[in-house]
Symmetry: C2
Subunit: 225 residues, 2 copies
């Protein structure tokens, strides 16, 4: 008899999840190469599911399969960052607009509000890791509220691609005080159904964030993350 919530997760799925984790944690460093057989042994399975997982992660832009040279973990250049932030700006602004059109109640927006509250709290504590986590929650919740599964999938994918880079810039940037104010403004616009304001506020917020990050990378001469 199986337990109720038990899902028979395949090795391929486990490989996908585990490889992602290894990439984000830096255990598989950006730019490094790894033999399929090494990864397979590392994950305690054969090459077959590892290769399938790698194919999936390849189309998500996290790594690259190179004949006879194994799997290469992709690094992110400032130019990649600009591309990604540009796309995130557009799609999240769309999400904000659509979210505002839905006529959500304060109750339905409580996760969004909670993320903002957590960010404020984290900022008071000067806990940047906690702030970043709450910021992620704000953005992903915003996208969820926009009700477009493609936008959700794409922003999640691009979020993955910049995760490593953001971990670096997090401690170089000024305290995100303005960022918190922006989020509050977006939240209020969504609550009162002002879709134009929601869109424009979030758009401006994202553009500022992009410029700030790119400026940081430039000044610190960070070419590859």
């Amino acid at each position: 008899m199986n337990k109720q919530g038990e899902k028979p997760v395949s090795n391929t799925e486990r490989a996908i999840a585990e490889l992602r984790r290894l990439v984000f944690s830096g255990e598989l460093a950006a730019g490094s190469d790894h033999l399929e057989s090494e990864l397979a042994e590392m994950l305690g399975m054969s090459r077959t599911p590892v290769r399938e997982a790698a194919r999936t992660l390849e189309s998500q832009g996290l790594l690259e399969l190179r004949a006879r040279k194994g799997v290469r973990i992709l690094s992110v250049s400032p130019d990649d960052m600009r591309e990604i932030y540009d796309v995130l700006t557009e799609l999240e602004s769309l999400a904000a607009e659509r979210a505002a059109e839905q006529g959500y109640s304060a109750n339905e927006l409580q996760d969004l509000a909670a993320a903002i509250a957590d960010m404020d709290h984290a900022l008071d504590q000067r806990d940047l890791e906690a702030w970043a986590q709450a910021d992620d929650r704000f953005h992903s919740e915003l996208v969820r509220l926009g009700r477009n599964s493609r936008v959700l999938a794409i922003t999640a994918m691009l979020g993955d691609q910049v995760r490593r880079a953001r971990a670096v810039t997090l401690f170089m940037r000024p305290l995100p005080i303005q960022s918190n104010r922006d989020h509050q403004g977006v939240y209020e616009a969504i609550l009162r159904g002002d879709y134009t304001a929601a869109r424009n506020l979030h758009r401006a917020h994202r553009q500022q964030a992009r410029d700030m990050i790119l400026d940081l990378l430039e000044r610190h001469r960070l070419r590859q993350l």
Copy 2:
């Protein structure tokens, strides 16, 4: 001795290309299921490269791998169309804006202009297939000029997803006269570097196209394509 341009294309790559073709041509109908072994035999290779190809196409949203039920070709609902057109609207508008910022010469925009000319010509001839092809060229060239490889990849992927549906609506819609005028306006805005106009014009163009298509699907009660 190998010929110069000869590329040793792998079976997996061939499978990806061939499966796409079969999906677009309708030989693999939307919503239909296919055993991996059937597809493998059809393509003259073993299941291994077919599965890898299927994994790739799965993350591109063309099909789905279902345990013990084979590969299911995904169909596109009106709601999917709305989602996809919304994303295309945002990302192509961004591309138009960025293209206008590059300061391209008329020479560099000749492919874009050629696509417009071809559309006009096709319209005169009442050749809708040719028009659709030129329209595709316009949109993909516009995205190329926007110089963002993520936008390029995403719009190509979404374009694939709506290809079948568009083949149906093509002969239901009114003659795309306004569409051709819109394209001309976007082209001119890009040429004179008016990025705001380029963005707004293309955005409006895409939104109209979306509304028109969704209206068509609704009126003809087309729930699944």
